[in-house]
Symmetry: C3
Subunit: 206 residues, 3 copies
């Protein structure tokens, strides 16, 4: 599980940076930037744990992780131009984070003995709700609900992982298969601008 943990640390750092960038765009001060960064990085896991009743939350048991997210937010605030220039690298790290968050979330659902469908959902919530809370705090319609194949990647990664575990595959190979498949799908979706069908209401009068 050490590989997954390392990916997770990289992922919360990257997610905190996306939160910090969004906070800066809304004119937030340094505290706001750190808070939005931290919520983006750790909010998905926190929502999952609160919904599952899985206490204590990760960052309450291990406050040292907060130094990653707060540090990443501060660095972003003072080196924004540099961070912006690394945008391509960012999207890749973000994709890695999404699938890592999802697999970790699925694991927690499985450990708690929930129904497999809830384990998948625990993964999706972990992957998606950080960005969702970031957008709510920044007064936006959540991006993950509108224009990206983001949540779908989490759903497929989670379903693949929980499916493999249910078939008796052990954690290590199941993680690797789910992580690499999900990552590949996300990168392809970004490259070819895939998205789910949308249904703009033709008749908005009500």
């Amino acid at each position: 599980m050490t590989l997954l943990h390392t990916i997770w640390l990289i992922a919360i750092t990257a997610e905190a940076m996306t939160g910090a960038i969004m906070g800066m765009r809304r004119g937030m001060d340094l505290f706001g930037i750190c808070l939005v960064g931290t919520v983006t990085a750790l909010g998905g896991g926190s929502v999952r744990d609160v919904l599952l009743g899985h206490y204590p939350l990760v960052w309450i048991e291990h406050p040292e992780y907060l130094t990653f997210t707060i540090g990443a937010a501060i660095v972003t605030a003072y080196a924004a131009k540099l961070v912006q220039r690394l945008r391509q690298a960012f999207l890749l790290v973000d994709a890695l984070g999404l699938v890592a968050f999802t697999v970790i979330g699925c694991n927690i659902g499985l450990e708690m003995g929930t129904h497999p469908s809830i384990a998948v959902l625990a993964g999706v919530i972990t992957g998606v709700f950080g960005g969702l809370l970031r957008d709510v705090l920044c007064n936006e319609v959540p991006l993950v609900l509108t224009s990206e194949l983001y949540a779908t990647v989490a759903l497929i990664t989670g379903a693949l992982y929980v499916g493999l575990i249910s078939l008796g595959v052990s954690i290590q190979p199941a993680s690797l298969i789910a992580l690499s498949s999900g990552f590949l799908l996300r990168v392809l979706a970004l490259k070819y601008k895939w998205h789910l069908p949308r249904f703009i209401d033709a008749n908005p009068s009500e």
Copy 2:
């Protein structure tokens, strides 16, 4: 309690549809529509359970309910014109859902041995917070807080139900009286456009 449970299933389906319609209007993709639909249907009960510490949440113990909300959201996405045409029927089902959610929420508060006022509040939260979360996700000032007598119906239904139970009336007749009174009040409020006083600030300079 079977009648109440049947009403509840109809209600989460109807609520998921109102969430899906709002999500479509915000240009969400199919995942976003399903998520907003599900949050609208099950969010009120989830907020109640998290605040009361009442675990596990309903949909985590019974993931089969998610098929109702996700199914309703998908049907709405592909049959939006039809759903829109049924608007009158919708409002009635929604009114039924509101009072059913409220009575169910009151019951959970009472079962947990909370103070009667908190049992009423548990009902109101169950009835109102689904729509409130839907509007926050869709970046709106929550409709239930502004223009409808919605929350007041929940409050009166809940107070009536908890009051009858406190007076020793058994669950079955208390439910029926509270459900029918609340439903009638909601329908009358819709028909005659009743609303609570509003207090638009005459002096918004600050």
Copy 3:
């Protein structure tokens, strides 16, 4: 602790009033005004308790506190002009509330045996999240994250309090020192318009 409790009661009343004023500006009805007022006053402590798994929540165990917040909201709705004229007094009570919320939140973290950094964070969450939820419900980018030294005051107050306790100072003097220092800092920040650095993105194209 009686002084702190008295300050807390004054503080939730004042916070409920700020929430009610914001709700009125958004055209909410009386129910919405009461709900936003109550969420502003008790939301910070509720978020803290849910994240820490600290049950039952204060207002569920002591529903009588809801009469303070709902009463304050109703008074504000019907006497808005008067409340607006007391704006200076308000800011002082609000500052007192912020530091009282923070010290109380730190205490709960310490009682639960969390790491000192989490105890400080529990204080900051208690102080800041009420206003944050108010602004999310009113569809605003949270004020506490953008334009005020509000959150920083909570952070310094909390760090000072937890630091003093860790050094063996007893609760009474530690509270007094933290409360008075935090209050003074907030008043000075208001008077001299201090704020943290902001980082408006120079290059918002993405």
